[in-house]
Symmetry: C2
Subunit: 214 residues, 2 copies
């Protein structure tokens, strides 16, 4: 773990040297990380350079979905591994070779536990949960929420069909991380995505220009 | 890992000695394990003795939900740990002290990766995914499906509102585990639960008497 932290510091320096902002995107399997990314890349891809590192145990499925947007992507398969680590990301960064000023999204392995423990050298941590997972997740998996910079509550288009208390989820998350920023979105319908794009701009030195949500 | 396997073998012998059948229930966070269990305990609790071990990183939330059914339950909190292991289960078994002929459900930590690697001494492995998670999960997280004895596809009441190909999910899972048994259910509405109860009876020596699905 100490070795991972040292390598993460080197990744962070490498990224700083290139003026690349990296967001580590973490959630359970199936919360909608890839769907959110595909829409984000389509909507922001003409504004500034983007790049993606995809983490999965197996398959190139997600890299194929991301690659279809035209944004550079490198897939990392972890095999039995349950999370990305700084070594994997260091290798992927060299392959990806992101341009100066890029915004890099690192989609971690779908897992609400282990990825929380491994610094990758990212600029910020974005944790996502979907409303179909149940509002009790922040209390049951507190480590993931403890170091988060942003919580995205996804799939709000499904709220009419599930029993999910958005306010309780947010207030529980803020008992773990006071002041945690929270956005509610539907990556499928586009609702709330404008605020996510504003957040990306504000945290990547690309200004906070208003972006029309689709 | 070798030590875990040895301890799991001891758990299995202990359970065999008591004629207790143990099912290791695994899924992503929020797939509906606890909801499925609560309904199962309510519907089967008068037919034969039941018991539950609940695994979570933190909180007694799930044990409280289970305990409300009147079924004996022990909560194991794993802290930073991402899965139950045979040592944790050995301790929980002594606390739980399940009666002869019991059916024991072990609800693992919500995680589609790490729990797959740790034998707990269970009689069978039940993997659940929900239709809100996306049908690509078996290919992306193959280890979890490789040793499964049963796949439960949950939340089928939400199929009209999500893009989930049930047939593709099942056929992908069977490329990993040929002949894998699959049940489709809604733990919320009760649809398909009768087949799950039949499966439990058939795999626990409690006969395969028909149970009316609610």
């Amino acid at each position: 773990m100490a070795q991972n932290d040292q390598l993460a510091a080197l990744n962070r320096a490498w990224l700083d040297g290139r003026k690349v902002t990296a967001f580590n995107l973490m959630s359970s399997p199936g919360s909608g990380k890839t769907t959110l990314l595909v829409r984000t890349l389509q909507d922001l891809g003409s504004d500034f350079p983007l790049a993606v590192i995809e983490g999965d145990q197996e398959t190139l499925l997600d890299a194929t979905r991301i690659g279809a947007t035209g944004v550079p992507v490198v897939q990392v398969n972890t095999g039995a591994g349950c999370h990305l680590d700084a070594t994997m990301v260091a290798g992927a960064l060299r392959n990806l070779d992101p341009g100066s000023g890029s915004v890099l999204f690192i989609e971690n392995v779908g897992n609400l536990v282990c990825p929380a423990l491994f610094d990758l050298g990212e600029s910020a941590r974005v944790v996502m949960i979907s409303v179909t997972e149940g509002a009790d997740k922040p209390l049951k998996y507190p480590l993931m929420f403890a170091d988060a910079d942003l919580l995205i509550v996804n799939k709000i288009d499904l709220l009419p069909y599930v029993d999910f208390d958005v306010e309780r989820c947010i207030s529980d998350a803020r008992t773990i991380t006071p002041g945690l920023e929270v956005l509610t979105v539907s990556a499928t319908t586009g609702e709330g995505m404008g605020a996510w794009y504003d957040w990306i701009r504000a945290h990547s030195g690309h200004g906070a220009r208003e972006v029309a949500a689709s």
